[in-house]
């Protein structure tokens, strides 16, 4: 059942919405943000954001209302094209909305182990293993040393 007042905690709505913002890529290597179940993480972050939180919640509410006006099942009931139309329509009147969404969604998405693995990044904390980096280019270094004072 969609929660009438709080789109942040309306799981079906959030899944459909987040999949619009970061959809799965064509070969499904990169998962959609909604399918990764990031709704709760985004909600928690938005709720503590005194700067953009309000703009995000207001925008989400507008998306949900506009979707329900098209189809009683709301955003999850619409085709992908129709969902995008709804979202574009809302963005025209809520300019800060998507900045606020991305501010919280991108960190949640790009720190998720499945996403890191898909990017070829190790899904671990940097410490204690650390990383190797490439050595200094010896040819460049030789030129530099010739100019040494």
């Amino acid at each position: 059942m969609p929660n009438a007042t709080d789109p942040l905690h309306d799981n079906a709505f959030m899944e459909a919405f987040l999949n619009l913002v970061i959809p799965p890529d064509e070969d499904r290597r990169m998962p959609g943000a909604g399918s990764l179940g990031l709704g709760a993480a985004v909600a928690a972050a938005v709720e503590t954001d005194s700067l953009l939180g309000h703009a995000v919640v207001t925008g989400l509410r507008a998306v949900r209302d506009a979707a329900v006006a098209r189809d009683p099942a709301g955003l999850p009931g619409l085709t992908r094209e129709a969902r995008l139309e709804v979202l574009e329509g809302v963005l025209a009147h809520h300019p800060a909305f998507m900045t606020g969404v991305a501010r919280h969604l991108y960190p949640a998405y790009y720190q998720h182990p499945r996403v890191l693995e898909a990017l070829g990044e190790p899904a671990r904390a940097p410490f204690p293993e650390g990383f190797q980096i490439e050595p200094t280019d010896a040819a460049l270094m030789a030129k530099l040393l010739a100019r040494r004072k």
Binding site: L20, V21, A102, Y106, A125, P126, P128, D137, L140
Partner: protein
């Protein structure tokens, strides 16, 4: 008998095990409790800074180790010419001391902090960093190749980061941006460099203690301080000498909060210059996107190479003084996405993954650090309403970017893009003035011999209060076009030495 030294610090001791890179979500932590903006962190030990009248946000960290907990550890010295701007360029003022005076203290400090670098940079008097330079990595190599192709000056950066195990510190393992604090302890933050030595020598440290004001005796000399202890209880501490090291914003704030009948405009402020002449280094960020993978999230974020190609004045450029470039690597995956969005390079929806894949691991670039000239209209004052968690008035920063700085930034952007294109960038991008870039806080209690035009003398002693010393960036006369901390620390050592040498007749 030695001198008894007590240090009061409003923040706590930090622990490497709590630093962001111990955790998978290190990027979120680095943007939250380890953010460099105190207005974002809002921890009890922080004080808010009203920055609504400044295009540059002041950044700092409040803990044992101060802002070096988060700093990037890029460690250039000032050049000899940086101390003589009035003589060479007819602007600002000369320092009352020069490079030669500070040289032995730069050298001691390089050893204490543990500096990695390569001797022989033609832009500097010869000096030998104690450790070999850090590897440049793919990002450093590519930026250096751009400079090299154009025939510009470049050199591996002096970095206060251990390139090998060094005096109890482990070598750098390339965790990523040093500005989220160093879990490895390879980066020199003063809690792990100076503090253990100071404590062995008997220096006492009280943490969680916020100084509210400096008290004065009937004769106007400093008498000690009033401070709030960890429980918020106001305490008094007497002292024969008071030394301030609260940075270019915290120090004028404290002086202005220390009003008395003897010093009605704030302590040490008969010149009216406390809080004036605030200098940041206005920064431009220039980035290139490359076809080849550069793995830029790995390795110290800001310590690859520097260039002094445009460091000195050249009238044909249309501005006075100049700037240095500091090579930068990429960022973590989340930061890259956020940056890509802000730069308009990574859209939401269709096309997101393709655009992100072009950026991720394919970015290298540089920042331009421009010399900011002192202007009395750029100020730190007390905000009439804002306070910290103890109710102590908080600072307000009022700052206007000068026409000279604007021209310098524009020049730096164009030349920087040229270098990245020469290095093979398929696309370049720039932010001509970085807002979250007030890392360097200088000039607000300047040094000088003329008591009407400066706050402290040539060895850091307040003209008006002979037992009050300042040893942070506040006392800078000019800012140079390089990061300041090597010079702040050399000055602090020099002033400590002068106090020691003159202890017999310190107050004459």
């Amino acid at each position: 008998m030695g001198t008894s030294v007590l240090c009061l610090e409003q923040g706590p001791w930090m622990h490497q095990k709590d630093y962001p890179t111990n955790f998978l979500d290190w990027e979120s932590r680095a943007m939250g409790p380890f953010a460099s903006n105190p207005n974002v962190r809002r921890l009890a030990q922080d004080y808010p800074v009203n920055d609504s009248a400044s295009p540059i946000q002041p950044l700092m960290f409040n803990a044992v180790g101060g802002s070096t907990i988060l700093w990037a550890a890029h460690f250039p010295r000032f050049t000899p010419g940086d101390f003589r701007v009035k003589s060479t360029d007819g602007v600002a003022d000369d320092w009352p001391i020069g490079y030669q005076t500070l040289e032995p203290f730069y050298a001691t400090n390089d050893r204490m902090m543990g500096v990695a670098g390569l001797a022989g940079d033609p832009a500097y008097p010869y000096h030998e960093p104690p450790m070999a330079p850090l590897p440049l990595g793919a990002t450093g190599n590519i930026v250096a190749s751009g400079f090299e192709k154009l025939g510009w000056h470049w050199w591996p950066s002096d970095s206060a980061i251990a390139s090998r195990d060094y005096e109890g510190r482990a070598a750098c393992i390339n965790l990523g941006p040093c500005t989220s604090a160093c879990s490895q302890g390879a980066k020199a933050s003063t809690d792990i460099t100076y503090w253990p030595v100071a404590q062995r020598k008997g220096v006492q440290l009280r943490t969680g203690c916020r100084v509210k004001e400096i008290t004065v005796r009937a004769d106007g000399m400093a008498d000690g301080v009033l401070y709030y202890d960890q429980d918020g209880v106001l305490q008094e501490q007497k002292a024969e000498i008071v030394v301030l090291a609260c940075n270019g914003i915290g120090t004028p704030r404290l002086l202005l909060n220390s009003k008395s009948p003897q010093h009605p405009d704030g302590l040490a402020n008969s010149s009216g210059l406390v809080g004036k002449n605030l200098m940041f280094h206005p920064y431009a960020l220039i980035r290139g996107i490359f076809d080849e993978p550069l793995n830029g999230r790995r390795g110290p974020g800001g310590c690859t190479v520097w260039s002094h190609e445009f460091y000195k004045s050249d009238p044909s450029r249309g501005f006075i003084r100049g700037y240095s470039y500091e090579g930068t690597r990429g960022a973590g995956p989340a930061q890259e996405a956020l940056w890509g969005m802000a730069a308009g390079l990574v859209p939401w929806g269709e096309g997101h993954h393709e655009a992100y894949a072009r950026l991720h691991g394919h970015i290298a670039g540089m920042v331009a650090i421009t010399e900011d000239l002192p202007e009395e209209t750029n100020t730190v004052t007390l905000d009439p309403e804002l306070t910290d968690s103890n109710g102590v008035p908080a600072p307000k920063v009022t700052y206007t970017l000068s026409e000279n700085s604007k021209k310098m930034l524009a020049h730096a952007v164009e030349r920087g893009k040229e270098a990245l294109s020469a290095a093979g960038a398929v696309e370049t991008w720039a932010e001509p003035l970085l807002r979250p870039a007030g890392w360097h806080l200088m000039g607000t209690a300047r040094m000088g011999t003329d008591t009407a035009r400066s706050v402290v003398n040539e060895w850091g002693r307040a003209h008006d209060v002979k037992n009050l010393f300042i040893i942070d960036g506040s006392i800078f006369v000019t800012s140079a076009g390089v990061n300041p901390t090597s010079t702040i620390q050399a000055l602090a050592l020099y002033i400590a030495d002068r106090i020691k040498q003159n202890i017999g007749n310190l107050f004459d």
